[in-house]
């Protein structure tokens, strides 16, 4: 395997007494789409700012394309940055905005005009060249910002919550557009977001941040199905966390005893030891109300709450051991508050987070 294109080695960043990033190691390959996901204040934006050159690491190395860039000023880094606030130049037209990075690079007029046109066509704004940013909607402004960040074919595109200011429908459309551009142009994208569904739909890999450290990094499905820590399990999507003690480790199945005496069966995997405490994550959509032979786990209880969501129904089931959140399809709409029901799920649906 070739060397990673972007490399953070043992990077720390402090603002005065406040340490925002602690001993960070992160490697990103060329052409990869990596999301930095975390709550606000988790340090994800600081990493982006260090990549863009707006912040310098307090210690450690940042290497891009084999070159140390810790001290390189932003304008020499050849990275396209897209901000949440669009950051278009309000006194320039759309075309002038997009031409700006080309002018900085001394691209000749005719060539520049053609590239601006291509970039704007790519984001479906070819007809808006002469408008001022203030005459565009939020979504259109963000498309211009995107075109401006891509037109000079930067080595890396950095996006700092670029869709945060858009409404839901537009955001989902832009997510698909950006993903499409990434595939078509083979861009290396580092994408900062606090929206887990955005990270899941767009990324090749997700790095989940908490308190300036990476809690877990991996493919979206890995992060979602196999969270390493409680924080990741809770931050990515909704989940049921069950606590208990491992009582029996078998060849295929491990049994966990809950505080109230209930038993939970999970798939055995290396590292599970009898006597240890365990937290298990069970995704709400993997719990069912109809019992079948292959669903080893079954917790009878009473329906506490039932909320209709259109495409699914969210049921809160109170059992002796645990309160379960269940996402079920609409066929179960017959369930009502106070009804008796049973949460059943396979051993495979359970994931021991630690």
């Amino acid at each position: 395997m070739s060397d990673p294109y972007i490399l953070f080695q043992n990077v720390s960043k402090s603002f005065g007494p406040l340490t925002v990033i602690k001993d960070l190691d992160l490697a990103i390959d060329k052409g990869e789409f990596v999301s930095l996901l975390g709550p606000s204040g988790s340090g994800k934006t600081t990493i982006l700012m260090m990549l863009a050159g707006f912040e310098n690491p307090t210690s450690g190395a940042v290497i891009v394309g084999g070159q140390h860039v810790e001290k390189l000023p932003p304008h020499k880094r050849n990275m396209g940055v897209v901000f949440q606030s669009y950051a278009l130049f309000p006194h320039m037209t759309v075309a002038e905005n997009v031409a700006f990075p080309l002018n900085m690079r001394g691209v000749a007029k005719p060539d520049s005009a053609a590239r601006v046109q291509r970039a704007l066509d790519m984001v479906q704004l070819g007809a808006y060249k002469e408008r001022k940013p203030s005459q565009l909607s939020g979504g259109q402004q963000q498309r211009v910002a995107l075109a401006r960040a891509l037109v000079f074919e930067p080595a890396v595109v950095l996006m700092d919550e670029p869709l945060g200011a858009l409404d839901k429908q537009l955001r989902e459309q832009m997510q698909l557009d950006i993903r499409d551009l990434h595939k078509r142009l083979g861009l290396t994208i580092v994408f900062v977001t606090h929206d887990q569904s955005e990270a899941l739909t767009m990324s090749d890999r997700i790095a989940v941040f908490n308190h300036g450290k990476i809690e877990q990094i991996g493919k979206p499905s890995d992060i979602y199905d196999h969270p390493k820590t409680r924080f990741v399990a809770e931050f990515i999507g909704e989940t049921n966390l069950v606590e208990g003690t491992i009582t029996k480790v078998g060849k295929d199945r491990t049994t966990i005893t809950l505080k109230q005496g209930g038993k939970l069966v999970v798939d055995t995997r290396p590292g599970l030891e009898a006597g240890a405490a365990a937290t298990i994550s069970i995704r709400p959509e993997r719990i069912h109300f109809d019992r079948t032979a292959e669903r080893e786990n079954d917790f009878p209880g009473t329906v506490l709450d039932r909320v209709y969501h259109g495409d699914h129904i969210r049921v809160v089931l109170e059992t002796r051991d645990q309160r379960f959140i269940v996402k079920t399809d609409r066929r179960m709409a017959v369930l009502d508050e106070g009804d008796k029901a049973s949460a059943s799920f396979t051993a495979n649906a359970c994931w021991v987070v630690g």
Binding site: H75, A87, F89, P101, P133, S134, L136, Q141, A149
Partner: protein, 263 residues
């Protein structure tokens, strides 16, 4: 009841502010030799006097010379100061920000005495540069305040975006920061000019007979022979100021429109 009182109070405040102007303006067009009502007839004679009588003509030219000099000097220095304060280029920039506003509150007489003594030592007393420097000191706070307000309105991320797109710092300043700060610079310049135009106290101290400005000339005319030419001069003053103010308002509205975002 409360609403009526509010409207009444508003009218009173506005008339208190505007009445003196309305009183003085018609007197500029009197054909009498007295600065008083009633006006016997309409005439341009005092405007004519203003532009032909040597003392008045000289003072108008002086005001324009000193005003332009002050505007240029104060605008350049004030803008640089505002930029430096914004980026906290110097330690204690909070302190300096206050220091730059001091000329607004220090009594002009105190400044005047101090400047006279200092300027005599430096050899610039009773010269154009001396008067321009004195006026600049008074005008700088207005430029600093206006430019600072303008700079505060600039989203730093716009400048960061420019840098990330390949613009070195001086280009960011030239292509992004300065164009966006221009409304503040312009209104600062207008304020600087207006400050210089109506400044009397410092002028009394640092200007010689050759630098007698329009305001200074009005001041002495009032004491010597209360001629209606004062009212004509006031008319010029006020219309000039209103035109400048309108220009500022126009520039502001133009740039605000292009900076406003629809969402």
């Amino acid at each position: 009841m409360f609403k009526a009182a509010r409207i009444l109070f508003g009218i009173m405040v506005v008339s208190f502010l505007i009445a003196p102007l309305l009183v003085i303006l018609p007197l500029g067009f009197t054909d009498s030799i007295f600065l008083s009502y009633p006006i016997p007839g309409f005439s341009w004679r005092w405007f004519h006097e203003l532009f032909t009588a040597d003392a008045w003509r000289r003072s108008i030219i002086n005001s324009l010379i000193v005003g332009s000099g002050t505007t240029i000097l104060a605008t350049v220095l004030g803008t640089l100061a505002a930029l430096g304060l914004r980026d906290r280029l110097v330690p204690f920039s909070g302190f300096f920000k206050t220091a730059f506003l001091l000329p607004m509150v220090v009594p002009a007489v105190v400044l005047g005495v101090g400047m006279q003594i200092l300027f005599v030592k430096l050899g610039v007393a009773y010269t154009y540069p001396g008067v321009i420097i004195a006026h600049t000191v008074l005008a700088i706070p207005f430029v600093v305040v206006n430019v600072s307000a303008s700079l505060d309105g600039i989203d730093r991320r716009i400048e960061r975006a420019a840098a990330s797109l390949g613009a070195p710092p001086h280009v960011v300043f030239q292509k992004v920061t300065l164009p966006l700060a221009i409304p503040g610079v312009l209104s600062g310049a207008v304020f600087a000019f207006a400050t210089s135009l109506d400044e009397v106290v410092l002028t009394l101290f640092v200007a010689g007979p050759n630098q007698r400005t329009l305001a200074r000339q009005m001041f002495s005319t009032i004491r010597e022979n209360i001629s209606p030419a004062i009212a004509s001069a006031a008319f010029l003053f006020i219309t000039g100021t209103i035109i400048l103010a309108l220009i500022t308002v126009y520039v502001r509205s133009q740039t605000q429109r292009s900076a406003r975002r629809p969402n």
